[in-house]
């Protein structure tokens, strides 16, 4: 890993082609009424206000729960190990209660943050519904994990599924150790367009939040393409108008990303989707290890 420069103080230039793609028009928060999704809602509200975007809440009534309740011999096994029969009426009521809790929470953040919000309640399977309803322009936010967090798991199945399949950007939210609004955002810039889109997103987030940037750039072996990418990166970074630290490495690994996060005291991470998917398959899952919101950019 080598440090290539500090760009603080350079004047911003006009927006470059591709930068408008990073603009955030609609923030969609996926809610299941779990504690973690409620925490994600608070962060999403701040994020939406900083971005000047609309905040839309989605709550999916899971059909599968109703189907489970249709089997008289199916039991709900709680973490204490107790097994209790499921009653269809009771499950229905619990779903309505959760929807109401979500509605109240959304109204609360709308009131406190001065936001325009909407809540859509759907019925079906969560991942399937999200893929049906979301667009490339949506900035989707969800907790890294929902109710399965009670098992000690750090990343839930919905988050893992959407990382690889959502049409737009996905923020898997986890309460960072310090503040809700990040003061240092780390970004992984891999070769190719996806890496540049990740950078553009991180610049947009940094501008909205007044945050600094720690940019981890992977080099390409072909020197000619390197120079071209470097120019594009520099152009994108000029829009950030904040403290920027650029680190160049031959290959971005999970470990050196974790080191950068620690060294720069980063509180948010932006990564390209393909790199994230590859990372998931490695021994150390970055999404799981980074104790902070992780934005995956397709």
């Amino acid at each position: 890993m080598t440090e290539t420069g500090d760009l603080k103080g350079q004047e911003p230039r006009s927006r470059q082609p591709g930068a408008e793609d990073a603009g955030i028009r609609r923030v969609v928060i996926l809610l299941d009424a779990s504690r973690r999704s409620m925490a994600a809602l608070d962060a999403a509200a701040i994020f939406a206000r900083a971005s000047g975007a609309e905040l839309v809440g989605w709550f999916v009534e899971e059909e599968e729960l109703m189907r489970c309740a249709g089997y008289p011999w199916v039991r709900e096994v709680s973490l204490s190990g107790a097994a209790t029969p499921m009653q269809p009426g009771e499950v229905e009521q619990r779903l309505r209660n959760r929807a109401e809790a979500v509605r109240s929470a959304l109204q609360r953040v709308a009131r406190t943050q001065g936001l325009r919000t909407r809540l859509h309640i759907h019925r079906g399977r969560v991942v399937q519904k999200v893929l049906e309803l979301s667009t490339r322009d949506d900035f989707l936010i969800l907790g890294k994990i929902g109710y399965r967090g009670a098992l000690g798991l750090r990343v839930g199945s919905t988050a893992r599924a959407l990382v690889g399949s959502a049409p737009g950007r996905v923020m898997m939210y986890e309460q960072p150790a310090r503040s809700v609004s990040p003061s240092v955002i780390a970004v992984v810039v891999t070769p190719g367009e996806e890496g540049l889109r990740a950078l553009a997103t991180s610049v947009a987030l940094a501008v909205n939040n007044g945050a600094s940037l720690a940019v981890l750039v992977a080099t390409d072996n072909e020197s000619g393409r390197d120079r071209q990418r470097e120019n594009t990166i520099r152009t994108l970074l000029r829009d950030a108008n904040s403290h920027i630290r650029v680190l160049t490495v031959r290959e971005v690994t999970t470990n050196n990303v974790l080191q950068v996060l620690g060294a720069e005291s980063a509180e948010s991470l932006v990564v390209p989707r393909q790199w994230a998917l590859q990372a998931q398959r490695r021994r150390v899952d970055l999404v799981e290890e980074a104790l902070m919101p992780v934005v995956v950019v397709p």
Binding site: S34, C68, W73, E76, V77, L79, G81, L153
Partner: protein, 797 residues
Amino acid sequence: MPSPEPLPLEALYSACDPAELTFATTAELEPMERPPGQKRALDALHLGASMRRPGFNLFVMGPRGADTLNITRRYLEGIAKDDARPWDWCYLYNFDESDRPRLLRLPPGQGKRWREDLRRLIDDMRTAIPATFESEEYQNRLQELQQQHSRRHREAFEQMQREAEQNSVALVTLPTGFAFAPMNDKGEVIEPDAFKELPEEERKRIQKVIEGLQEKLQEMFHQFPQWQKETQQKVRELNKEMTLLAIGRPIQELRQRYGELPVAVAHLDAVRDDLVEKIEVFHSADRANIEQLLHRYQANLLVHSEPNGGAPVIFEDMPTHQRLVGRIEYQVHHGALVTDFSQIRPGALHRANGGYLLVDVRKLLTHAFAWETLKRTLFAAEIRPESLEQTYGFWTTASLEPEPVPLTVKVVLLGDRLLYYLLAAHDPEFTDLFKVEADLEDDLPRDAETRQLYARMIATIAKRDGLRPLDRGAVARLMEHASRMAADSERLSTKARELADLMAEASHYAEHDGAACVGVNHIEQTLEAQEFRASRVRERSREMVHKGIQVIATQGHAVGSVNGLSVLQLGDYAFGQPTRITATARPGRGQLVDIEREAKLGGRIHSKGVMIMARFLGSRYAPENELSLSASLAFEQSYGRIDGDSASVAELCALISAISRVPLYQGIAVTGSVNQHGEVQAVGGVNEKVEGFFDVCRTAGLDGNQGVALPATNVPHLMLHRDVRDAVAAGRFQLYPLKHVDDALALLTGMRPGEPAEDGGWPEGTLNRAVADRLATFAKARPRAGGAEEPAGDDDD
């Protein structure tokens, strides 16, 4: 019997000749270590101080103003400076039972060092522990443990999920748990209606699989707490390792330093273990919680000895329960009163432990429960700091029960004799605890040797109190005054505090005059100023006499009336006051009515004196038959309580005058008590009495016949004011010594009392004959009186 001769001038005052003193000023004299003439008390103090057996505590008693405290304190400080220094004591947090703080005894002088060592250790903890736990090594190892834990859960859960999927079963997450349900090829839960379409055998198989999976899941969840415990244990071990890395070395150093003190070592070990156990507090980074934790590791140093001191000598001037045994303070925390080992405060017994505690017994007795507390503590030989509320169960707020401090103290009570005797008589435990009495002398013999010692005592007071030195004239005058204070020309008062006050005032005047030394004039000025300040009541009283409001005749003769003398004590000031005593006599059955007693104004001693008089009259004038007399006695214009028998000679004279109708001379006042044989006995306050009547006579006009008749045995007590002496020297006032009541009768009536003949009769022309004749008249008259008598009498008929 002839009238008594007036006393010569020399008998009225014992002057101290400055020429007999062998120094110019007291600056030349060596201060004294010990007060003069107190061998008995000092021997007792020595015994009490040196006896190490239980109960040999001391009671030092002496007259008021004897400066008992200073004498005792100086003496004990002299002994204590060579005694061994006492142990240092401190309270420590008890990690097993927090409401029972532990006690640590340290060698003399090590308490402060121990406290500072613990403070430094705690400071080390404040910096070293956060640094250790923020280190990359710790963070990495902790993260590894947490990852292992998460991985274990995840892998178990994923295994469960895989097994379910392999059996076409979906694992569905619910807000409060998980459920298994039949799953189709698309990974969706099959609709229950569609499930019913499946062959029964298939349905049963799936149901059985699901029931098996449910049981497995339950089993897995049952293991979670155990896995959690295992991880926590690993984290604890990691924390212990890192904690010991941070503070193990300084603790080990302290363990070596205090290795001979098992309690100190145990505390250090407990601190280490507690820190390891509660290290999460440091992780929270909450300063208040961290300080609360560290607070428990410090030492509450209760008492410590100074490097140059011997045994402590402590005077507790407010001996309340709490100031004796210490107290436990409380702090308000969230509206509740809370306390801990650091809030234990020492009492006087803690500070005096290993030495001497001086307490004023009157103060001790007047503070609620203090006396009982002191006795209980001395019997138990240990100090338990607890509040009265706690001791007597008045208060139920949670408090502490600190380990008691072993007590080896010598308690010295200071007080007057009355309290000693009352305690000895009424408190059976008193003599068990205070076996040694040190009784300070009220006065000393005024001989040549004592005069020199007394001069040194004066010099010691002057130096101790930073006063100007006294020249020998001033010292001589002080000694004369000391004799007056002792009410005895042959003795010197030991009331050092009163002397010190007088010297301080004289020194003030000397300073005002710019004199290097205090001279006799300054002493005289002080005495006059003291008398003037205190004499307002006396002046008012004299004025009343002068204006005739209070009737005191100083000239002429009167039947049944005589001037008696009394002393009024107002604080430290006393003055004499003449009182007109009158008597009446008439036929009766031997009754002598004490009007003061009838009016409930007379005390028992006075009544006793009157009864003695009655017996004297009966035995002298009616030895063989009944005394046909009904007489009465009164103190005219006296409206307060009177007591004592010092007026009984005067009363007897008035009574005999009333019976015999022989007038008494009013220019001579009489004082003295009388016994059943008519002998005159000594009384108190003769100087004040003489001066009191002299003042009245001087105001009315001295004619050379006036004077005071007083018991001959009181003559050595005379130390009269210069004005009286001057008048006597000029022949304008006289003092007469009385040995028998007949002396007084001869002096006041001018008649011979007369000696009885063999037949019991009295010679013609004598006073006694006049009395006998009148009584005979009464005897004849009595049957005609028809038995009408006074309602009550004082005699024992």
